[in-house]
Structure formats: C-alpha cells, structure tokens
Symmetry: D3
C-alpha cells in the first residue's frame, strides 16, 4: 500500500464541507425477484441490497413464535480499485466480510419485533457493486429500506399475521473520521485511507445508538474527538433517516 | 421444483417469434474501477461484466512472451426466483459455476492472440445481478465487449506493445432450444424450464463455431432438430455481433 | 506443456483409419461388491465403472415415487503421464471433474424412467485407472453397462417393483475431432492434444443425440466440419452400442 | 437460549460495586517456549497469551524495514458452559473468532512503532482456557504484557537493532455494559447475557481510545448512557494499566 | 530440522535412570465448566483434559441403548518450540492430529461398558498447553481421570441409570524408545528426536495391552529390543495407574 | 454395524490354517505411465500401487542432497461392501486415510538411503480397487515393489547418480489378529470384524521390525498373545518377502 499524500487544504477531497454527506440515492425495486430491493449509492459507492422473505425460521428458533433477520455482505471482485480474489474461490470468508455481515444483521435486528414478524425469516444480501468508502454504512442504510419492503410484502401476502408492526423503528448508518485533525462526515475512499480515526455509527430514527465502532488507525483519539465524531454521525444519520422515509413514501 | 405447465399457443411466452432475440442492451463503462466493464441485459437477465487488466501472467506461463485470459462467473444469491446459498459461505464452488466459468474463458480465448497480448492477464468477472434464462450466453456476449475495452486500455497505456491486435475476431453467444417441439432462439427462464432440448452456441463474428453444447433435457433429439437449432443460433449470434459493434463504436 | 509436433502422414498415430475406433473391451462383474461393474477400455484408456444400487432417494425427491441416478468421475493421480494432485488432498473438486461427473449423470438419466425405477438410487462411480484420451466417453459407455446390471440386480432383488423397465434405451459416447484438418473418430491422447476441434457426442442406440459438446481448441470450426464430426460420432456410437449389447448378452 | 431471569437487587451478581473490576491476575512466563507469555485471569475468565517473536515479516512487507504484529484468538471447546465444536474440525473459523482476532491485532499495533521493531514479526496467540465473560478484553490486556516481554527478548537477542523502543505506549481493555439500567464495569458472563448494552473499550495508558465498540443488545442507547459507559471504561483501563506495570516490573 | 547431537554419557538428558518416569502431576477439577477435568503434566509436558458429558448419542447409535466416548486432541500453536499454524486457520486437521485423537478415543473405549453408560456421550478434549515429548501418552493418562470424574458426575445426576459401572477398568499410557541403543522410559523431546525406535504403549491397570505402536525412526528393531521396550512400558503404566488412583481418591 | 456372528469351527472362514496367507499376486508394470506400478492382491483385496519418480524434492529439503519418499492411500468409493463418500467430495481426508498414508510412507522410508537417492522424489499412490481386509498391508507390500521399479528406472535414466543403491533392504507387511481366541495370519474382512485384537506388522526382509501396531478391539490382550501374534507376523512377512523377490526377478 502506497502511503497516501497528506490531505491538504481546508475543503474536502471532493469539495464537501466537513458535515456534508455525499449525494445519496435509493433506487427501490431494483430486482424483479426479491421481496424487497434497493440499489443504494453514497457518492460512487453502490450497494445492491435485496431482502428475501421466507416462511419458517432456522431450526434453533422453531416453535418459538418468533422470526429471524440476518444479513450477508460481499464485494464483487472488481468493485475495488484492484481486483480481489473471490471468497468462493478461496473457499473461505474473510474476517472483514464476516464482521460486516454480522454488523448489518445486528443493526437491523435492533428495529425488529420478532414476535410481530412471526415465524418468518428475512435475509438481507448486500452486494457491493462499486466501492468508494462507506460500503458497510451504505449497506445498512439500504438494507433497512429493502427490509421495510419485504415486511410490507409479508403483510400483503398474509404471512405476517400479527397486528403489531414488526418494524419498531428505523435505522441508518454513516461513517465519520478524523482526517488531518478535522472530524469529517461520510468518508470517501481517499479520505478513509488518510483517516487517523475511523468510526461507524448506526442510529435509530429517534437519534439513539445501535452500534458505535471507533478505531484509531494512527494516533489514539481523545474523548473530545470522540464526542465531535458522535455529533457529526448523529446529524448524518438524521439526514439519512429523512432520505429513507422519502424513498419509502413513493408507491412501488 | 414444480412441474411447469405445458407451453401452449403458437406465439412465445413473451410474444416473440421463434427466431427473435429479447431486447439486448449493452451499457459500457458501468464500473469506475475496471479497465473494461459492461452491464449487459438480455431481456430481464442482467450480467455485470468487468475486465481487469494486469501486467504479468500466472507462474506457469512466465517467460513465454504470451498473455492469458480467464473468467469467473457467479450469481448473486437473490438473482434468481428463490434465494440460493452463497458459494463463499458453503466454502466451495458448485459444478455449474465451474462449468460456466470455464466456458466463458474458453470462448474469449478463441479470439485472442496471446503473443500480441504479451505477458499481460485479463480476468473477466461475470456476475449475474438478475437471472431470467441465458445468463451464460449474456455473460459471454458482454464479456467480449469488456475485454475489447480492456485491450484498448492496455494499448493506450503502453502495456500491450505488439503492433498486431490481440483481438483476432469477435465472439458472441446465444441459447436455443426446443420447446413444445418448436425450435426457439434465446430462451427466457419460463421457456428454459419447459425445453426438451437446450443448446448454447458460441460463434465468431464470421459465423464459425467456438462452442456447441446441446443437451436433451427430455427426449433425445434428432439430427434434423440439431440442424434447425444451429441455424437459429448462427442467426442470433450474427445479430449480437452487430450490437457489440455498435456498442464499441460509441466513444467511451 | 510442450507444443506437440505437427501430426504428419495420412494414417493415424496408431495406424487406424479416420473412422475407426480403438479396440474396446468391456469386462463385466469386475468388482465383487458393486451391484453392477465394468472395467472398460478404449485402447489404453481404462475406466472402472461401478454402479451402487440403494433403496431410497435423496431428500428432495422423497415421496415422489421416482428414483434417481447420479455419477461421479475421478482420475487416479498417476492415471496420466505426469502425476496429478489428489482432489481429496487439495480439499476441492476441480472444474473439469465436476463437469464430467455432471455429463455422465445427465447422459444416463436420459435413458431412465424414474417412475419405473421407483424410489431407488443408482450411483455410478467412474474411476480412470489409466488415461489415454476419451476417458469421459469410455466412462459413459461403460457406466451404461454397469447401470444395466444394477437395474437387473434391483429387479431380481424385488427392489424395483414396476412392470415397466427403468431403462428406456441404451446410451454410448465417443469423442471426435479435427486433427491436421482431418475429422477423426475416438481420439487418443496424442491426437487429442493436437486437435483443432474436439467434440464429445452422446447418442442413444437409435441414433439420436443426448449431448453434443464441441469446442474449438484452435481455429473456430465451420458448419461443414461440424457436420462431418457429427456423422463420424453417430457411426462410432452405433458400433459401441453393438459392443454393449454383446457384453450384456453373456451370463453373469 | 433460555431467557435469563431479571437481574434484581442493588449489588451485582458477585457482590461487586458497579465500577469494580473482578480480581485480575497476570502470571508472566507461563510458557517455557514462547518469547513472551502470560496467563491472565479476570475473575474466572482465564486466557493464555503467548507472543512468538520471529525474524522476518510477511511477504507483502518485505524490504520495508518495518515489522508486523498480529494476533489469533480461540476458545478451547470446553472453555464454556456447553462444549462448542472445534473450528479446526468444522474446517472454518467463525465470524466471532475472526472479529476478535482482528480487534486484538489492531489494539496492539496501536502502540507499536514498526520502524523501531525492524523486520521482525510478533504473533500473539490468545487461547481462552476458561470463559466467564470479557475474554476479548482479558486477551488484549494480557497480550500487551506478553508482547512487552517478546519485545524485550528481541532486544536482548539483538534482533531489534533500533535505539528507539518499539513500544510507544501501553494498552489495556475492559468491557462495560448496562444491566437493569445500571452502567457496570467488567461484566461477568451472567451480567453479559442480561446486558441491554454491551461495550468493549481499548485504551492506552494515557487515557486515550484505541477502540470503542458499543452494541445495543436490546433497546438502543442514549448519548448520556454512552457517556457513562465511556467514563467507567476509562477508569477500568487505568486500573488495568497499573496492574500491567506491576507485572512487568518483576524480574523474569 | 537440525540434526541433534549424539546423546552422550550414561545418565539421561535430565538425569533420570532409564526406567524412571518424569515427575507426573494430575490436577483434578481444573475447569469450572467441564463435568470432568484434569491438568496433567509429565515433566514439562502439560495437557488440559476436559470431559464433556451429554445426554444422547450420535445418530448412528440412537436407540441402541449404548453410549459413546470419543476424543479430540490438539496443540496450542505455541505449545512447541517454534510456533505451528492453527489447524482452524489452515482449514483442515493434519494427519498426526487425526491419528492421536483416534488413539485416545480407542484407548478410553477399551475400558468402557457402553450398555452401562446408557445413551450418553462423553467427549474428551485433550489440549496440549506445553509440549516436551509424550503429549499423546500424557493425554490418555489424564483423559482417563477426567472420564472417571465425568462418569461419576453422570451417576450423581442420575443420567447413568445402570447398576453396573460403565468403567470396566483403568487405562494409562507411556512412551518408550531406544536412544543410543539404550531402551528408555517416558522420552522427553530431546530424547524423542534422537530415538532410533519410538513406541507408545497403552495398558490397563491389570497389565494387559490396549495399544502397542512401535516405529523404527532409524534402523529397524530386533525382537529382543521390542521385548525390552514392552517390559519398560508395562512398568511405567503400572506406576501411572497408581498415580491415577491416588488422584481419584482425593475428594473433589 | 450389525454384530457379527461368533466365528465357529476349527478351520478359518475360507478354509485356511491359522498361519496361512491368502493367495498373493503381484502384477508388475500394470500402468503404462508410472515409473513403477504393481496391482497386488491378497485374496480378494486388490490395491493398485504406482510409483511416480520426479526430479527435485519438496522445498524444505532443497539443497540437502537428499531425496524424499512419500505415500498416499485411498479407497475407491465402491471398493467396499457399501459405498463410501469420496473424500474429494467431502472436501477433507478422514483420519483413517491420513493414518494409513503416513504408515505406508514411514515403512518405505525405512529402507531408503536418501543420500543415495539424491534430490529426487518418489510418490507412492496406493488405491484400493477392492477391499476384503488387509488393504494397508497389501499396499505396503505392493508399494515396495513399485518403489524398487521406480528406483531402477531412476538409475537407468541417470537421475540417480550415486553408486550406492538407494534401497537398503526390502519391506513387507501383514495383518495378524486374535479371532475366537485363536491367533491368525492375514485376516480377511469377515475375520477382521470378529477380531478381538488386530495387529499390523511391517518387517524388513531380514526379520526386523519397522512398525508394530496392535489394537485391542474388544478385551485387552496379554503379553503371551502379543508374542504369538508377533511370531505369526514375522513368518508371514518372510513369505511375502519371497514373493516380492520372485516378482522382481522377472524382466520387465
């Protein structure tokens, strides 16, 4: 890995202000087969999120009356600047992939009422078609919309029988980081590789936290820096929450 | 698998005539990272083909002065009507995936002059985003265009030094089959599952064969049927050849 | 791989005429354990085919009243000129092995009436003890005889209860190819590595096609060449059909 | 998983106050073979941490003049209440194992000066012999001490040639969580399964953050709760830092 | 592997006489979770043996009224002088590990009455924490004690219902070998690498053989040498049998 | 596994006396490709042993001036009474296979002078075509002959340059066991499943031991029984040694 050049100047790599998201687009119903699907983009990052709704639950949950939601994340081999080996060809899933799949699953389960879902399973597949930083946060944000569509599908098709809604809230995620000592919202790849501190934050629509994962890539970070990053992230998630609501308002 | 209902009526499932292709679209330059990329669609089938150009060749070919071209095919889990397990999660690649990856690689190598390519490697990744029959033939047809772009990139960037062009011809592929005793061109999924005979044909732009793979799904097929299918396929490949040329004419 | 020297002279490497098979031998009952078994040789190619008959079917077929036939192909490590790694040691099955196993299974299923077989399974194991070209076609031709013996065993042991015979026809396979512009039947290894076009054809005893798989190894092939190869293959399969019948006539 | 009974009463499960660590012991030099080794216990949690110092670095780092530090975490099958399958027997590493191994490696690399380490590699193996909550934080805390011993060994044996010390600081980790609405330090297993929010915090000896990983197991958590947890964690890490220093003061 | 220097002098590497065991310690109840557990040491070799008692048996044994006992052996990566790769990371278990796991299982099953055990399973995990020769024999000797404790636990908890005791005898194991032409008992690592012949012997408390595994590492061995080794081993096992009884007499 | 009926009568299952081998046949030169090959049969047990001679040695041995000999054992899926899964399909090698491969390799290495072999490698592949007990001992006995042929090939082809012969002796193996309290030589499958004690013995032509592996399948065995088995085995190996010499005397 070549050492990135220092990040100079007061404005960001792509001209944004520190607290500005990249352009975000949510294309619902991208797939003809899936019960819910969204092609989400955060700038040049594009993730195809599909939600597969099936009756029944994994064996360990049978008879519980409760449903299940899980997620799988993957990157296409040439979604990145240099081609990566396929994990199917290597015969095993890497640690990063595992970690992100688990993060997405936990984030969505935080807003699901499993009793209301009933013994149904929703699997979210988040496949990165093009990567430019923030793939995991785009995946969570898009997967929520795909999940909402799949849940609506389940209700229309009478597979969800409960009166209560299985969705107890909304969830979105964004990355924040400190680049050249400046706290920034929604890092693109060029910022990400220069970040001294990198944090992914998952919030509900009412501004509470589902996940906070902060890592010092270089110098350890001080409490004040952590606080500044959390402020930025909460603001970013609130904006994403608005975009999700807009996307879900349109008829499908 | 439910038994499909008999295919009735004289016109096709989607109103096409027997020798008619589905609408084909080739979106070049879909990926910002890859040296060549195409999002190809044959009707509802959509395959993202990226070509990754790298200097150097696999170890067994080093010092030969010749290049290499290879391909990997995969389906996103929910590209199909019901979700399939990820091969990365199962830890191994299935026979069908292997078979199609090899077919795509062989088909493209048929139009490559490895001496002219020099010691460079092009890897074609064909990822099915949505499947509705004919994914392998769409993959070959799209991969050729991505390959042509990657070769042009290699020449622009002086990595290909030979005066001769590495591309000795063009290649496209189409499926044909017998459904309800009628030979049809470019089967969609609903036709494919009803087909008595299923054939994939890969042709060069000058109408010769690179691959012919015909399989009796039900009754064995007679020589006359085989001949009729080959006629249809040659015609279909000629049309695809025209579409490839058109796509490659536009500036990128 | 060293480049083979050009194939010179009008007669073949081993003195055969273009449309001549190598000596074919079928040794039935080679294994004391299997319900059907044949050691087949096509010249120096030797494949041990065993058919294992078991009551019951895979889970996805239970309760259907229908049986199942499947096949696995493999090569002993030193069946070839240079030793190959064991697939069990590498921990995965290669694409070629997968492809051939699937081809053998499809070919045999083409002549099976699953209703008549009842809920029984026959697994064909085709292990190449010595390879000299044409291993997959020898495997199919031998496996048919082993299958016929296993079906007879199933009937003798009252596991097949239907009056109808599960075998709806016979099946044999042969390779053909163009070497030095001459279409040849049943290529040995030395011919196979020189072939410009290589084709495997699976026919039923009544001369219809089950599988046609043709590949241009060098130059793409013209329609007239394809036709000549198909003619040769049909003739070769008819001869093999005769040899299978002879083998099956002898008491066991 | 049985639902745990509500956690009642004002004092903790094992009588501790909310901000109290379990008894921590660090047994240095536990292994006769490793260049550094510590058997660490946080209450009933026991992790054997060994540091293996070797000359040379992984291929991707050769010639850089910089060293490398990495970690692997694993649990013995019966370190937990019910026996878990061995990952070696299952043939793959689970997501949780991957995630924790990566966390430990990152945490230690945060206090390493790779230039000063020179082209040497230290591998930290953290094997959980007995688990009672907090295994990953005990692993990090113990691994730091083993790493310090391995670095000292490398200097004594002239494999580290730089005058600068490769250790730029100290690092320790602790878990915190909200149980029954009360923020608690260093959760044992019984508290962990009842926790509404669970957080692992890795700090340097000067009180800055290397990693913050907070997860809402039930209800999302508010900013004030997050702040209270961070306060507890910083205090806990400071105590652990003192214990590490004490352990390292003794002659070995 | 460096060639070891010749083993000189009349006394052994560590001062023992030829027929002397290393100091053996058996620490019962080392694990808070397992139904039986022992940390056994043979000199510097330390193996943690845990016995996990569960109701039920593997599928192939269901309904037989008989129980099952099995074992898994593994080495921590840095239990040896140079770090070994984790088998979980390599994705497969090596031949040596397999072989030893099977040996331990067979040895313990030799003293189990499966009818008396009833449909219960005991899994013995033998994890080598530190290796200095004789790990498999230490594992067998320790596992017997853990097994005895697990069986006692099963009886106390009414899961073993038979009046007959499931343990039909005791079992212990020791290594012997010829080093510098001298037959020696209980080889440490330094002796083991110099041994011309290496033998592992598993005996019951009444002096009969459960397993004898002798291997010529250099020269083949004569019958007289084999006899001398067997004499030594029988004596060593008798001493170990005494130590096992002592350990089991103490209250737990 | 059904419990076998007690073995009654004074003569053996197949009429042999206790110290009688089954008919043994050694068919040299069975494979056209391998440098050495033997189809060996011990009664109905048939093992194809091929020896592959290649220049060069594994990486860990390069520059040592010494060669290497290794072995791989496998069973064809239907070599046994009921079909076993292929290890290549399961994706991993079982413990028994591993164990036997290692045993064969060690046995052959016992009669090899690696200096005289020079930096060449011989791989022995022992594939069981049909199993009726004693497959590992037949494999060792046959592999020795294939190895001798490969060594002769290496010398004829000037790849072995040393004057000294790489073969320092001969090696053969046989099974012995106690069935119905009677010690028997060379157990067939029906005897093997009834054996109380089962032992495999590998001897050199001069009557010394290379490996002794005895296992109590039921009751532990006494020293007198062990002695009787060793006597039988030594006699059996001497007979096999004669048959090996005879086989190797014929010109090839």
């Amino acid at each position: 890995m070549p050492t990135p050049e220092p990040f100079a100047g007061s404005s960001r790599f792509d001209g944004r202000t520190p607290a500005e998201l990249r352009p975000v687009a949510l294309e619902r119903g991208w797939s003809m087969h899936a019960e819910g699907s969204v092609l989400i983009s955060f700038g040049d990052t594009r993730v195809l999120c599909t939600a597969s709704f099936t009756e029944g639950v994994p064996r360990w949950r049978k008879g519980s009356g409760e449903g299940w939601v899980t997620a799988e994340y993957a990157m296409l081999p040439r979604s990145t600047n240099t081609r990566g080996d396929r994990e199917s060809v290597r015969g095993k899933i890497g640690g990063r992939t595992h970690e992100i799949s688990r993060l997405i699953g936990r984030s969505l389960r935080a807003v699901i009422d499993f009793k209301a879902l009933g013994e149904n399973t929703v699997v979210l597949d988040c496949d990165v078609l093009q990567a430019d930083g923030g793939t995991r946060t785009a995946a969570i944000t898009g997967a929520y919309v795909a999940l909402a569509d799949a849940v609506a599908w389940g209700r229309r098709n009478k597979l969800i029988k409960s009166r209560a809604t299985p969705l107890t809230g909304t969830v979105a995620a964004v990355s924040v980081g400190i680049v050249g000592s400046v706290p920034l919202l929604d890092l693109c790849y060029e910022e990400d590789v220069r970040a001294e501190t990198d944090m992914n934050v998952v919030c509900t629509g009412d501004g509470r936290f589902v996940e906070v994962q902060g890592t010092a890539e270089g110098e350890p970070f001080a409490r004040a820096e952590l606080d500044a990053l959390l402020d930025l992230a909460v603001g970013g998630c609130a904006q994403l929450d608005g975009l999700q609501r807009e996307a879900l308002e349109g008829d499908r």
